[in-house]
Structure formats: C-alpha cells, structure tokens
Subunit: 213 residues, 2 copies
C-alpha cells in the first residue's frame, strides 16, 4: 500500500511557521529562513522552473523526498488565501501560479466545500471537507502505486500524527529560533512507532528521517 510521507521544515525551537501570520507574511515573521536551505538546492530550483543553485548534502535528500509521490495532502492554511468560506467571485487559487509544481492531485483539507480547481498544468486541487481519513483514502485512490506527500501545515500534520497514520516523517531542522508561530508537535505526545533511521547534517539544516518500525 502507498505510504503517507510527512515532510516539513522546523526551527530549532519546534516551529513550522513564525509568529503573526498574515496575507503579506503567509509563513509568519522570519519563517522564510526555514526554507532558505531548500531554495538553494539545484534540484528543487529546477523543478520549480528556476536556474542555478547548489549541489550539496541536501540534494540527495530533496531528490528522495520528491521521488515516487503520486498525490499531496495539505491544510487549508497552507493552500492559503484567507480564513473562512471561499470568495464566490474570485476564489483563491493557491500560492503557486498558473502551473503549480505538484503535477499530481492535491487534496486540501478545509471546512468549506468547493469544486475541484483544475490548473493549466497537470495539478488539480480537490477540496475535502470530510476529514483526514477521507482525504487519505481519496489520495490513495489518486496516487495508485505511488506514495502520498503530507505537506503541512502544522495543524494537519498533528492530526495525522495523532491518528498514527504517518508512515515516514522527514524533518528538516534549521538551527534558528522563531520564538512563536505554530509548533509541529503541539499536542502530539506519541510517535506511534516512528523511529529515527537517518540523520544527515547539511549546511544550515539537519535532515531527520523517521519510519514506522
């Protein structure tokens, strides 16, 4: 069966977003520093249509993380836009422009129903209002033999972790403090058998991989 693979960047004090999230600071204050290591990696830049970048200890990690993914699950807050119901006239279409980099079905957990959003590329966003298990079931159906990425944010990760549904967890820990925001493990006190199997120290980030024992 396809695996649910959580991957997220986290500060040294445990935050995956910074304080004071807003439309102009969607990650919260200072949290762009959580992703600086990723933006520097050539393989990631290529996939996102950007030139340049480095090949370093993180390159193989990013490649492994992106390989064999057939569907993505994310929370409404990560999809972004605004809280509450969708704007009827001009509903938010995500952060990723006309051709999002997923190239597979993306399932967005939300409390507000909405028809699927088909983009110019081969990414379609499905809006799921029936909870995390339903979203996982739909993602499994869409992913076929491939795995499913759990992209964030913290709240959705917490729900899947608490339910014991995560098969692999990749934490990219950045040696900075954010001092506020959303904590990845808030309210989670059990890894449900996830065990650390790999630690890779790269420039400005440590990559941890946990898998179900």
């Amino acid at each position: 069966m396809s695996k649910l693979r959580l991957r997220i960047s986290m500060s040294f004090d445990g935050y995956t977003s910074g304080p004071d999230q807003s439309p102009t600071a969607p990650l919260g204050i200072g949290a762009e520093r959580l992703h600086a290591w990723l933006f520097a990696v050539r393989g990631w830049r290529n996939r996102h249509g950007m030139s340049g970048g480095e090949d370093n200890e993180s390159s193989a990690i990013v490649d492994a993380e992106m390989a064999n993914i057939g569907a993505t699950i994310m929370g409404r807050n990560m999809f972004g836009g605004h809280p509450g119901g969708w704007d009827a006239k001009e509903p938010w279409r995500g952060w990723w422009g006309k051709n999002p980099p997923f190239h597979h079905p993306v399932f967005v957990l939300t409390h507000h129903e909405r028809a699927p959003l088909v983009t110019d590329g081969d990414t379609t966003f499905y809006f799921v209002t029936t909870g995390i298990e339903s979203a996982l079931e739909q993602a499994r159906g869409a992913a076929g033999p491939q795995d499913i990425a759990l992209a964030g944010g913290a709240t959705v990760c917490q729900q899947y972790l608490k339910a014991g549904l995560v098969d692999e967890m990749r934490i990219h820990q950045v040696p900075i403090l954010l001092g506020g925001g959303e904590r990845l493990f808030e309210g989670v006190n059990d890894l449900h058998g996830l065990e650390l199997v790999e630690t890779v120290a790269a420039p400005n980030v440590t990559h941890f991989r946990f898998v179900k024992g």
Copy 2:
C-alpha cells in the same frame, strides 16, 4: 576570559524535563529517556563511579563537554528537593550523594539564602540569591582560567540565553516526544549570535554544538 558553556539533553519536541515533575519523578514522566544515551557512555560512567558502558560516537562529545570545566551553575529545581525555603533541620543536600561528581564549586541559583554546603568530596555548593549575573561572576572567580558549565534546568538556561551570556551551547537532541514538561527555548527568540558549528549523529541522539560567532 572563561566561557559559559550550556549543555543539556532535549526531546525532539523541545523539552528538557517531562510532565508532572514530583519528588518521585524529579525529571518528570518519561524524561529519564532523555539521558539513556549518556548513561550508556563508558567515559561518563567511569566519572560517576560505574563500570561498563560503550564507546561510541557520543564518547568524544562527552569528553569534550566535561573537559576544562572549573565551576558549574545550576537552578534550584535541578539541585532538587522541594520548592520554597530550605528545611531548617535536614536541608536537602542534592541528588548526588556524599561525593558529588562535580569536584569543583557549584553555584545554585535560588530565592532562599543558605550557607555553603561542603561535601565529603571536593564539591562545594554555593547558594546564590542575587541573580544570574552575580552567579556568573562568582563562578568566574572560582573557575580561574577554566570554563563554567551551565547545567540546567530549562528556566535557568532561558535566563542566561535571553541575557546573551551563553558562549557555547551543546544540545543533545533525543528522537522522542515527551508531550509536556519544560521547554528549553520557551520565551527565547534570539540566539544572540550563537551559531551551529558541529552536528554529530550518534545512536539515539544528535549532538549539536553552537558557539558565539
């Protein structure tokens, strides 16, 4: 000038003690797992009068951490016993028995005055009621050319971190969740120039070393 060197074990969710601390569970529930990696290291066991143990990736870390320390600073909660004033008849003498393993002056931050406690070994505990800067000054005087260990717990570490007084920070991060207790970085949002310079992956623990840039 001698350096103030913080060293502490921390769970993957950022706790240095577990939930529900009490006289029978002084570290809080489950937090003995934070120190299992250390109790297994031969060099540490030898220093604490125990035989056996392993030589592994943590051995050199423990040796480096213990080297060149001429004084230790700790909080009252780590010294232990009970909250509030000292018992007049039988004041608490610490967790470490008749011959504590420090073998140098230890400065205990407390709100309650008390005469120095001389032990059978060459460890003397001094009780400091005049705050963190005063304790540091006294520790520097006692340490001479050597450095000063900041041993914990979380509250005392936070005070020194927020004041920007920590010169080196060694975090031993254990891949478990405690789900409650005291968080090392609670209320701390600035590392005051401490930068990650070394990451060592060992069995069941990752050793991080930060130094002032």
